[in-house]
């Protein structure tokens, strides 16, 4: 079976001949556009060659291959692309015969040696050859330094071409586009990062900047597949320049959170900060709004969304931390970041628990509850969609500021019954925002029942079997499973009593793997909130660790 089709061969031969060695602007543009598909074709050719038993057979089956590979080896743009280079060298390696049996194979060997020579050295007699020969360092080091120098010169050129004035007539646009085209093949080369950073920054300074689209695409793919590390500012500039890149980054980060369960739940806040999304969002309102929109849509679309909620909560918390770190004169009003929510909700919810003294938490939560309650009552009173929308927005803000819900759950562990009502309402609203079928009273009742059982379970020793069974039953019913799990996790971590009890109770109550996974997400949120608290309570941390270890045991 033919590994490569004739049409493909014709197409690529024509391309290779067209590009030649001249590197005119248009040839460079065309080459950079085709690099990706060229790599696939080279992969096919390589696979075909690997199946050959000898070079003679290879030359008979693929008569074009000599000329084709030769032309590509003389094309600096193709050779500069690391992946294409490796493919070409592997093809050459396939065609080389360690023991040539005939003239064809001997000739092929000679040709390959010539090609290798050309790739690693300069044309004799040229100034390049002379300066490299007497440079006093290895050619590898010379070219690395030369590359660094040319990058630094070009970076200066980019920086100077637009000195921050809004006068776009001074900007040398044509050159920027050409430079970015040349960089398409070189995106993952480590020496290139200052130039890439400068080109991306250029867009921020010059309104009419025009970067090659392939360049942007290559950077984005390389960033996501971790083949490239850029300075933070450059990444943020990339996202400003290309909304597609931003969306790609947000989605790919979400995917990594959902699939990398164990590592993510252990240090979710660190991972979120490392993604650079909070930082970018704090500096650019539109980035925050875009990321928010994406995660919000995902939240409403998937059912099992505890993980997404956790991500939204931690993302918002990290974002708010960054925001408060900014200078007051640089800060936009919070309204700009949360345009759809009733303004009076912003202050109480966006103030983090770590910024409110512990003694005031109960009152603060009361405040939040009364605001939210009035929003829901409006909805029940009127029948129009606008009131419903207001409830959704308020609920989503609560999801974003989930640290307050977690605080409520923590307080419930030691709360007196008269204070529990308010806190339970909040928890119920969080897990069941809609009052479909007027279930809210039913849900509140379940919440209170769970709370009562959990109190008895964790306050009495040994844990009474009756309450154990009750909690277990509540967890297995899908009606309020998440709410009960939320309460359970907080009781485990924050109640007083021996640590040994944790394993005992957890093993009996949380038996299914799916439930354990969800519990780990809740733990992740507890940990993030504790991380940002003013003081560290070792007792709580050790209970948290114990619960985590118990859950991780299969």
């Amino acid at each position: 079976m033919e590994a490569v089709s004739d049409t493909d061969v014709q197409f690529w031969m024509a391309k290779a001949m067209n590009w030649g060695e001249d590197l005119s602007c248009s040839a460079l543009l065309d080459t950079s556009r085709h690099l990706c598909s060229l790599r696939s074709f080279l992969q096919q050719v390589l696979q075909g060659l690997q199946q050959m038993s000898s070079t003679s057979e290879a030359m008979k089956t693929f008569p074009f291959v000599g000329q084709f590979l030769g032309r590509l080896c003389w094309n600096p743009c193709v050779i500069a692309d690391e992946r294409s280079q490796r493919l070409l060298l592997r093809c050459l390696s396939c065609l080389y015969s360690a023991e040539p049996l005939n003239a064809v194979e001997r000739k092929a060997n000679m040709w390959i040696k010539d090609m290798l020579c050309h790739l690693i050295s300069e044309e004799e007699g040229s100034v390049a050859h002379t300066t490299v020969k007497h440079a006093g360092v290895t050619p590898k080091r010379y070219h690395s330094e030369a590359l660094q120098k040319v990058v630094s010169l070009m970076t200066e050129e980019v920086i100077k071409s637009c000195d921050g004035l809004p006068n776009t007539a001074r900007c040398l646009n044509g050159n920027i586009h050409t430079m970015s085209t040349a960089c398409v093949a070189l995106v993952t080369c480590p020496e290139m990062s200052p130039l890439i950073g400068a080109l991306l920054k250029h867009f921020m300074l010059c309104g009419s900047s025009c970067l090659n689209q392939e360049f942007i695409k290559e950077i984005n793919e390389a960033l996501i597949s971790k083949r490239l590390v850029l300075e933070h500012e450059a990444v943020v500039n990339l996202w400003c320049y290309s909304p597609t890149c931003l969306e790609g980054a947000a989605v790919s980060f979400l995917e990594s959170v959902l699939s990398g369960h164990e590592t993510m739940t252990q240090s979710l806040d660190k991972h979120v900060n490392d993604s650079l999304l909070p930082r970018a969002s704090a500096h650019h309102c539109h980035i925050f709004l875009t990321v928010n929109e994406i995660y919000r849509n995902v939240l409403t679309e998937i059912d099992e969304n505890l993980a997404v909620r956790a991500l939204i909560q931690v993302f918002t918390a990290c974002f708010l931390q960054r925001l408060t770190g900014q200078k007051p004169q640089d800060r936009l009003p919070l309204r700009a970041f949360f345009p759809n929510v009733t303004p009076c909700l912003l202050t109480p919810l966006l103030t983090a628990p770590s910024e409110v003294p512990r003694e005031a938490w109960l009152d603060h939560l009361s405040w939040i509850r009364s605001l939210l309650q009035s929003v829901t009552e409006n909805e029940e009173a009127g029948e129009d969609g606008r009131a419903y929308q207001a409830v959704f927005e308020a609920w989503f803000l609560l999801v974003q500021c989930g640290y307050w819900v977690d605080t409520a759950a923590e307080l419930l562990v030691l709360a007196a019954p008269e204070n529990a009502k308010s806190l339970l309402w909040l928890l119920t609203f969080f897990h069941h925002p809609t009052n479909r079928g007027h279930q809210r009273s039913q849900q509140t009742a379940v919440a209170r029942e769970a709370w009562t059982h959990l109190r008895m379970l964790f306050l009495t020793r040994p844990p009474p079997p009756r309450h154990l069974c009750a909690v277990k039953e509540l967890l297995s019913s899908s009606f309020s499973a998440n709410l009960v799990l939320h309460l359970f996790s907080n009781f485990t971590v924050f109640s007083h009593g021996p640590v040994s009890i944790i394993t005992e109770i957890t093993d009996k109550v949380l038996t299914e793997a799916a439930v354990k996974r969800r519990a780990l997400w809740i733990l992740a949120l507890i940990r993030c909130r504790l991380n940002s608290a003013a003081t560290r309570d070792d007792r709580v941390y050790s209970r948290l660790r114990t619960l985590q270890d118990t859950l991780l045991q299969t």
């Binding site: 590197l23 602007c25 600096p76 050779i79 500069a80 690391e82 280079q85 490796r86 060298l89 592997r90 390696s93 080389y96 360690a98 023991e99 060997n109 000679m110 390959i112 040696k113 010539d114 290798l116 020579c117 790739l119 690693i120 050295s121 007699g125 040229s126 100034v127 390049a128 050859h129 002379t130 300066t131 020969k133 007497h134 440079a135 006093g136 360092v137 290895t138 050619p139 590898k140 010379y142 070219h143 690395s144 030369a146 590359l147 120098k149 040319v150 990058v151 010169l153 070009m154 050129e157 050159n175 050409t178 430079m179 085209t181 040349a182 093949a185 070189l186 080369c189 020496e191 290139m192």
Partner: protein
């Protein structure tokens, strides 16, 4: 020291053999050993490059061995001390270009990129990438925005400047630095124009203008080479020469000296009413005046200094005001000073 000199001799013999048909006897083991020796040799170079005492001992050993090998194997080329930095590369090139090299050797030197470790001794990927990236970027930066020089020349010039700076920073290395420049010039004998561009860039290179060691050295060397400075100035554009003159007083003086020398080659042809060249120097009156025009267009202080210089020359030659007697008078008239 004895051992080191012996090793050096060994390496040179290896390099020589790799260029002859005796190399057909090499097997995998021999080849790997040869590269080990070559690597050792590179370390020698790096340690002693700037140490005049040890280096001269090594250089004389080299010279002896070169002579001996030339007699035994006339086809092999002599090796200079500066080339020892690239011993492995030289060996590799010899094996690639020598038709007698055994076929089994090449796959050892170019292992399959998929299986070979990134930093293996024989990994050429980063060299090829850097080299072609450099090539690519130089070619796409077609605007000559660096005082009229192409960016490739600027980079090579800076690197040359850095090399000379590090060599000259330790005492006793002047002769060695001169040898380096001599070799570069010798090897470019075919096409010196590109080299002149690189030298110009090296003259401009110290970004820190207070460090004039390298430009001073290069100028002194240029003036020692017969006619070299003149060829250099002719090859570089008037604009570029002006830029260098602005940056370096020494170059300015030397440049004026060249221009004066060119002027002395012109004679007034009474019949034609023109100044014409007398020797093989392809310098015409127009070229001369263009050079001065560029200097005068550069702005203070070079403009005023050049005016003063021209007027002084005119005065010293007799202060004629009529055309056709003194070239300086005519230049001044032509330039409407």
């Amino acid at each position: 020291m004895e051992a080191v000199l012996r090793h050096l001799t060994n390496i040179l013999e290896l390099l020589a053999v790799s260029q002859t048909d005796h190399v057909s006897e090499w097997d995998r083991h021999t080849t790997l050993r040869a590269f080990q020796w070559a690597e050792y040799c590179e370390q020698l170079h790096s340690r002693f490059q700037c140490n005049p005492a040890v280096r001269s001992a090594l250089e004389s050993a080299l010279s002896d061995t070169n002579q001996r090998l030339q007699q035994a194997l006339p086809s092999c080329s002599p090796v200079m001390f500066s080339e020892l930095a690239q011993c492995q590369h030289m060996l590799l090139i010899h094996l690639l270009t020598n038709p007698s090299a055994p076929n089994s050797v090449i796959p050892i030197l170019f292992p399959d990129p998929k299986t070979a470790a990134q930093d293996s001794q024989f990994d050429q990927n980063s060299l090829i990438t850097c080299k072609s990236a450099f090539n690519l970027l130089c070619r796409t930066s077609d605007r000559t925005s660096y005082a009229g020089l192409h960016v490739e020349a600027v980079v090579r010039g800076k690197l040359l400047g850095n090399l000379l700076n590090s060599v000259l920073s330790r005492t006793g290395n002047d002769e060695y630095a001169r040898t380096l420049l001599d070799s570069i010039l010798h090897d470019s004998a075919g096409k010196p124009e590109s080299l002149y561009d690189v030298i110009a860039a090296a003259l401009l290179s110290p970004d820190d203008e207070t460090n004039s060691v390298v430009p001073h050295f290069i100028l002194a060397w240029l003036q020692e080479q017969d006619g070299c400075l003149s060829k250099l100035c002719k090859s570089l554009s008037p604009g570029l020469c002006t830029v260098i003159s602005r940056q370096s007083r020494e170059f300015k003086q030397a440049y004026w000296g060249v221009l004066k020398q060119w002027a002395s080659c012109l004679e007034f042809d009474v019949l034609e009413g023109l100044w014409v060249p007398t020797s093989d120097e392809p310098v015409t009156f127009i070229i001369l005046t263009d050079r001065f025009k560029e200097l005068l267009n550069s702005g203070p202080p070079l403009k005023e200094e050049t005016e003063t210089e021209l007027k002084t020359l005119k005065r010293e030659a007799g202060d004629f005001n009529v055309k056709g007697i003194c070239i300086w008078t005519d230049v001044i008239i032509q330039l409407k000073l």
